[in-house]
């Protein structure tokens, strides 16, 4: 049924349909409305058999979820930015313990300087943590990805982060179709963990693993991720079949056929990009757009297949690896090794900086790009500052 909903509330309602047993979080902008929504659903009795724990920190939040999941119950938490950094030890722990927790990350910049607005720096800080990571393009997809996430997490026995752009999605109202409980129940079977804490079968979870076995543990985690790509793609198809719309999967292309230039992005910015692409194509350009829905595991082969016929790939990325540049663009460059494709990195929208269609059109239309382009960089400011930071000593 269609509702006009704030992104966070849409997520909360989708989550409730997944019947989680333990929900816990520590408030941080912009994730707060999700918790508030969930809390209200629980207190009002709309979400039953679920416990909401107000914890003292993000470390506590993910830890409670770890406990809940290990004891056999679907467990959920949400955070953003600094909160993610504060729980990062537990992030690695949850994946290492193969606990299928689902976490929403209301994407936000990392400080310092402190900044509460959207970019993907927080997500990038856990990209190697062994979690499956999805990026939502719309409020609808944000809601849908959560319904997909539990099933995938539990099948793969791997936790999932659903990335939702802070404010842009979390605080934006949109029309969202919230499926019925029956539909979700048909799509998402009840949680039946193969390993959990049980007095009748007392296992130890979380051993120390010495060097003789550690490599194998890590290798198997990697292999598991690679193997899950097909399953994630399948789950996307199954979702489409069940709910009649496209959400999830690995990638989603727009106008790829005959495109010389394909713009790759993750999250909500895809919408603006598509508008820019449309206009550029109307002006005679050959542009396409490719959204990366599943960032981890990295769908290398699918990317190659989608991008191999392009001459140019422009990666619009909302994060920066200081000292090297774009992250996603480099990963794509590696994926395209051997293809005759130029990969251009455009760093955009850091700390909530506006990304407008005009800026994008101008950028995509350029003939030559620097190695790393900072979209909308204010040259009036940085000129003076270069002199301050330059090191003349050597």
């Amino acid at each position: 049924m269609l509702h006009q909903l704030e992104g966070s509330h849409a997520i909360a309602r989708a989550l409730a349909l997944c019947r989680p047993g333990v929900v816990c979080a520590y408030p941080i902008s912009p994730q707060t409305h999700i918790l508030e929504g969930l809390e209200e659903l629980i207190r009002s009795g709309k979400l039953q058999n679920c416990e909401y724990l107000n914890v003292e920190s993000e470390m506590g939040a993910l830890s409670v979820a770890i406990g809940g999941e290990a004891a056999g119950v679907r467990s959920y938490t949400a955070t953003s930015s600094q909160g993610l950094l504060y729980m990062i030890e537990a992030v690695y722990n949850a994946s290492g313990l193969e606990l299928p927790i689902v976490m929403t990350l209301g994407n936000r910049a990392l400080g310092s300087p402190i900044n509460i607005w959207n970019d993907h720096s927080d997500a990038m800080s856990v990209r190697d943590s062994g979690w499956i990571m999805f990026f939502a393009e719309t409020n609808q997809e944000a809601a849908d990805l959560h319904i997909l996430a539990f099933g995938i997490a539990e099948k793969v026995r791997c936790p999932v982060i659903v990335n939702v752009d802070g404010f842009i999605l979390t605080h934006a109202y949109d029309r969202v179709d919230i499926p019925s409980q029956e539909e979700v129940d048909e799509f998402l079977p009840p949680y039946a963990p193969s390993v959990s804490m049980d007095v009748d079968s007392p296992i130890a979870i979380g051993t120390m693993v010495p060097p003789e076995y550690f490599m194998e543990v890590r290798h198997l985690a990697h292999r598991k991720h690679e193997d899950s790509l097909a399953m994630i793609e399948c789950a996307g198809h199954a979702f489409e079949e069940k709910f009649g719309r496209i959400s999830g999967g690995l990638l989603r292309g727009y106008n790829l056929r005959n495109a010389d230039t394909i713009v790759v992005a993750m999250g909500s910015v895809a919408g603006t990009i598509k508008d820019a692409v449309d206009e550029l194509n109307q002006e005679g350009g050959k542009f396409g757009e490719l959204s990366l829905v599943c960032y981890r595991p990295f769908p290398e082969e699918a990317l190659r297949n989608s991008l191999k016929n392009a001459k140019r790939v422009i990666v619009v990325e909302k994060s920066l690896a200081v000292g090297i540049g774009g992250i996603l663009s480099r990963e794509i460059e590696l994926a395209m090794k051997g293809c005759d494709v130029e990969v251009i990195s455009v760093i955009a929208g850091l700390g909530g900086r506006n990304i407008t269609k005009t800026m994008l059109k101008e950028c995509f239309g350029r003939k030559n790009h620097e190695k790393t382009t900072f979209l909308g960089l204010r040259n009036d400011i940085i000129g003076d500052q270069y002199r301050r930071i330059s090191n003349d000593d050597c």
Partner: protein, 536 residues
Amino acid sequence: MNKPFATVLGPSTSLSNKTGSWRTMRPEYVKMLPPCNATCPAGEDIQQWLSFSQEGRFREAWDVMVKDNPFPATMGRICYHTCEKACNRGQFDGAVNINLIERSIGDIAIANEWKFGTAPEAKKKILIIGGGPSGLSAAYFLRKLGYGVTVYESNVKLGGMMRYGVPRYRLPGDIMDAEIRRIIDLGVEVVCSKRVRSVREEICGFDAVYIAVGAYRAAKTSAEIADGANVMDAVDLFRKLEDAASSLPDFGKKVVVYGGGNTAIDAARTVLRLGAESVKIVYRRTINNLSAHETEIHDALAEGIEIMCLRTIDSVEKGKVLLSVMSYDEENDILSKTDKTDWLPADSVIFAIGQSLDEGILKEMSEISVSEQGVIEIDKNMMTGAKGIFAGGDAIMGKRTVTHAIGSGKKAAKCIDAYLQGQEPMANVKNQTATFKRLNTVYFSQDPRVDVSRLGDISFEEKDISYSDREIVAEASRCFSCGNCFHCDNCYGYCPDNAIRKHPDGSLEINLDYCKGCGICVAECPCGSMKMTLDE
């Protein structure tokens, strides 16, 4: 279960890790000799019967007692209980009242008419000359070993010094009689009032002989006895007292007893009961040197008997005795007369200065020699110079107490048995004695000993002080179980490595597969029944 690799494990898989390989020292259970057992002249396994007593298993306790001593009720009264002096609890809050527990259980046995059971068919025959504690003890052990036993007793009744050396207020006749009866009921032939004139005349028809005639002949005094002086011997007095046919001597109102041993005290307390108005004990050394047992001295003093120390009797005249004041150099044990003398009024004087063996029965037995001290000489297996003739009790060298006599009879029985089987007696292998230092007393609470006074009315009636069943259990529970496991489970409970197994029956076993040798079990053993040794 589809378990992740390595990070999830089933239970108890560490049992494959045999941490015993870390060990350089290993704990061990030991069995030590408790000091009570170590000092008991009859060799009783006191700790074991205390252990049964703690559980209220009095029959089993009594069975343990009579393995070494057929007279628990008797010994529970007249034994001077060296065990209690040795008891390690004495260094904590007072020794366990072993003696009174023995008496109490002995009384339960009599009241319930517990028997020794039946002895095996008699094969060979043994003659025992003397029906005192040593002879009866030997008779008991020999009979149980399957020998036919005949006891010749010169007195009218059996019992020897138990009957004729101990007054009835200390050992009631019915108690003694009941315990003697139990031995006779094993099938011992007894001939009373049979005075053996010569051993030689009697040995015919017996495979072995045990001489347990005791020491009855009163020691000669060096004091001058004037005509008309009323003097008598303590043992003689007791015998007359027991012998219904004899009339009691007239000892007057003021009685002096000469001597410092238990017999002197017994004699003094006896004449007090027979009507003497004043009884004084004259003794050569100081009060600290009295060989009588301290409770006896205490009770005698409490009854109004005066002990005059550092005095010797020079002469006895009618109505008075002449005393010399003595000087005693305790350090060098030199006793000498001073010039001072003193007259003391005395209607009679009772001598209790020791007894000696009547050698008469040994005539025509030149193989049997008598030592300078006037006792029969024996070899290490208690055999005299004459083959097959053994001697023990007061007739040989050693302490003259009833307990020693019983121990002597037990040992003699063992030696006679070995002799008749053509073997050496089994050596008595004794474990090391468990000292107080081995104990970890933090586990014991202060529960001080309560002494029970035997002092009653001045009469020949014994004061009833036996413990109730509950009191037996409580007092027995004070036992530290020195040197022997009493199943407190400290070792089992404290082991950080679960390297001690406790079986359902309570027995404990060290599991060397996992014992790392930390030594906590040994340190926390309350009774010192564990030790660390170097691991091989």
